[in-house]
């Protein structure tokens, strides 16, 4: 039972992180039918943005009030990157052959990783550590430190609570934004029918930028949460996380924002339980369980969903991209 509860906690923490990143995939896909492969890198840049903010302004401090400022720093970095890449790389390709945006996305992804790796310590006027190796992430009072033990055998990390709380907060914020603001309703309109939306006087280009920005902001939060959880950041952290989050987005039904959140949580839980329980199977099968194989199962799940239920769990805006 403790094991089950512990895995539930682990799964929800992991899932919240996936969900926060997955929203970025889903929002952008819903509007421009583009798999923004570089979104994982936006998440990574968020983490580095927070780190940079900390190193610049608060080095050595651990007070809680620093955290919101770090998140803002992360968002500035992420949103800036996402908007820039939309403007410079994706927008000119909006009517290009279908392979072009995806290949571009791979290019951006590699570029951003390398950019951070090579130049993080060369930011003028700072003495940031080199990003070629892992960099320790700052510890903040209240959200890091001693874990909670609600019962024997179950541990809840403070950073985990922070992650789940941020997901809840973001989900509410996102719901409000999409349904209650003019921009959000514009987003809905464009995702349903861009041409009509354009005719109705909605600035589609602007909506697309907003979609990128919203996704990036949530990815930035995820970046901070990840940094606090594993207490270090590195330039490669976006690749696998991005791929998993994409799986989550597809799982929930790509283009569907609630779907991304549900998909993220489901994937996180699935991963945690698969890791725990497949490892306990009798031997010929048990060998294929445990943490070594969890990514394999996650990717297998991705393939199965894409092939047999591309609309995902909650159904999605499916557009034949053939």
């Amino acid at each position: 039972m403790e094991i089950f509860l512990q895995q539930l906690v682990n799964g929800l923490t992991l899932g919240s992180l996936y969900a926060l990143i997955a929203v970025g995939y889903t929002v952008v896909y819903g509007i421009v039918q583009l798999i923004n492969f570089a979104h994982g890198e936006v998440f990574m840049i968020g983490a580095f943005g927070a780190l940079a903010t900390y190193l610049l302004l608060f080095q050595g401090q651990t007070a809680l009030w620093i955290l919101p400022i770090m998140i803002i720093g992360a968002m500035i970095a992420s949103v800036g990157t996402a908007v820039l890449m939309e403007r410079v790389a994706y927008r000119p390709l909006r009517n290009a052959p279908r392979l072009a945006p995806l290949i571009t996305a791979i290019g951006i992804s590699v570029f951003l990783q390398e950019f951070v790796r090579l130049f993080f310590d060369k930011v003028p006027g700072t003495d940031f550590p080199s990003a070629k190796a892992k960099i320790p992430f700052p510890q903040i009072d209240v959200v890091t430190g001693r874990a909670f033990h609600p019962m024997e055998g179950v541990t809840i990390q403070r950073a985990a609570i922070f992650t789940v709380a941020m997901l809840l907060l973001s989900a509410v914020g996102l719901w409000w934004f999409v349904n209650k603001t003019k921009l959000g309703r514009g987003m809905q309109a464009v995702s349903q029918d861009p041409d009509t939306a354009r005719l109705m006087g909605i600035n589609v280009d602007r909506i697309i930028v907003v979609a990128f920005a919203v996704g990036a902001a949530l990815a930035a939060i995820a970046g901070v949460a990840q940094g606090l959880q594993i207490t270090n950041v590195n330039f490669k952290m976006g690749f696998i996380a991005g791929l998993k989050a994409f799986t989550a987005a597809v799982l929930g039904g790509i283009g569907n924002i609630q779907g991304a959140v549900v998909g993220g949580l489901v994937l996180g839980l699935a991963e945690a339980f698969i890791t725990q329980y497949t490892g306990m199977l009798p031997d010929p099968f048990g060998q294929f369980g445990g943490s070594s194989w969890k990514d394999v199962w996650a990717f297998a799940l991705l393939i199965v969903i894409l092939v047999f239920r591309p609309q995902g769990l909650l159904g999605a805006k499916v557009v034949d991209r053939a």
């Binding site: 874990a147 541990t155 270090n232 943490s291």
Partner: protein, 412 residues
């Protein structure tokens, strides 16, 4: 090249160069020879021999690699200053292996293609060494590793019937076969009877854990959990969750600090408050940085006595500092320095009457096997497999955010 800015100097040189061009003889550097080595003119009586370095000069493990490179450089400079090998000038040829086997093999191929290379110090990683060995061996170039601890590198894949795979391969550090058991004894003797092991599945980590486990169980301890991690991963929830219910008293980790640091941090923040112990791969200040404030009490073994505990070691560190390298000598600096000096010592015999570097290669292999001198990490000599005969190890402990010597002992 000194900077010449005065026009007058230029004018003088103009005349000089016109005079020179009138002679019209070329120094021989623009022939079709493609080897990197012919760039330096073989002027005067001194001939050139190169000592290569293959180590990660970029990437996660660059701190260790640069320490190796600089230490070898120091040894070469000192040899040239003292004219250790009359008639020969030594040069450094450093290649980056990015801690990747493929890149390492390319680097080795490049060095093997260089007619002036007589020996190579490297590699850092055992996995890279596996691919570098055959390339250097086919050119009969000696390789002395300051850091490879994989047993199979000198004893072959079959542990029961050790057979040396490459006659050209030597190392100045002890192997996992000694380091693992040493750690096992230390833990057992300090009263810890249940441990968990984790490794990163790489040759180094796996070998270390295997040797540790054998010894620990032989002593009467129990390994309550044996897990692995994927070094590409950042989160070790799953592993920690799997270990925690077994409540071990310590965790022995086989791998390097980029993973060990976060693992130590994460397991403690998840309530698994036991010391993490590892091999020389985690013995680096970066480990403490990554593991954070909860790393106090974590342990590491490293080969040899602490460099700063012996007189020769202190001297090395001072000279290293005086030479003004921008990176510290790191964990393997002393071994790299000794490795380079072992090659230089061998060259004293092998190059003495040699006409060219290529002719001297076999002689160097033979001479290196017989080398014996006092290095900065202890006595440097090799057994019939190419392993160092020194078996002194040290346990270090994180205390107040720094590695402090806990115990130095000889392994018997």
């Amino acid at each position: 090249m000194p900077k010449r800015s005065a026009v007058s100097v230029g004018a003088t040189l103009l005349v000089a160069s016109l005079a020179l061009s009138a002679c019209g003889s070329r120094g021989g550097s623009d022939t079709s020879s493609s080897a990197a080595g012919s760039g330096a003119s073989a002027g005067g009586a001194t001939k050139t021999a190169k000592i290569g370095v293959i180590a990660p000069l970029s990437g996660d493990l660059a701190a260790l690699g640069l320490g190796i490179q600089n230490s070898v450089d120091l040894a070469i400079k000192q040899a040239n200053e003292t004219n250790a090998i009359p008639g020969w000038k030594l040069e450094l040829a450093a290649e980056d292996d990015q801690a990747t086997a493929d890149v390492g093999k390319n680097a080795a191929t490049k060095l093997a293609g260089d007619k002036d290379v007589i020996g190579v110090v490297g590699t850092l990683n055992s996995s890279v060494a596996l691919q570098v060995q055959p390339v250097l061996s086919s050119a009969n170039i000696v390789q002395v590793s300051p850091a490879n601890t994989g047993v199979s590198l000198t004893k072959g894949e079959d542990a029961a019937n050790p057979a040396r795979p490459f006659k050209t391969y030597f190392r100045t550090c002890t192997t996992d076969a000694i380091q693992g058991p040493f750690a096992a004894r230390f833990l057992f003797e300090s009263g810890i009877k249940e441990v968990a092991t984790v490794h990163d599945k790489k040759a180094y980590g796996q070998g270390l854990v295997q040797a540790f486990t054998e010894e620990f169980e032989k002593l009467g301890g129990t390994v309550v959990a044996a897990e692995t991690i994927n070094p590409d991963e950042d989160k070790y929830d799953a592993v920690v969750s799997a270990i925690k219910p077994k409540s071990p008293k310590a965790l022995y980790y086989g791998g390097e600090y980029p993973n060990a640091g976060p693992l130590s941090q994460q397991m403690k923040s998840q309530g698994l408050n036991i010391p993490l112990m590892g091999g020389d791969g985690i013995f680096d200040p970066k480990f403490i940085e990554l593991a954070g404030s909860t790393s106090d009490g974590d342990l590491a073994t490293s080969v040899g006595a602490p460099t700063d505990s012996t007189d020769s070691g202190k001297k090395f560190l001072e000279e290293y500092k005086a030479a003004g390298y921008s990176d510290p000598s790191a964990a393997y600096g002393g071994y790299a320095y000794d490795a380079a000096n072992s090659i230089i010592n061998a060259l004293k015999t092998s190059l003495a009457n040699a006409a060219s570097v290529e002719d001297a290669r076999q002689a160097t292999v033979d001479a290196l096997g017989k080398v014996s001198f006092d290095g900065v990490t202890g006595k440097v000599a090799f057994d019939e497999f190419g392993d160092t005969t020194t078996k002194i190890l040290t346990v270090y402990k994180v205390t107040g955010g720094e590695w402090k010597t806990e115990k130095t002992d000889e392994f018997k």
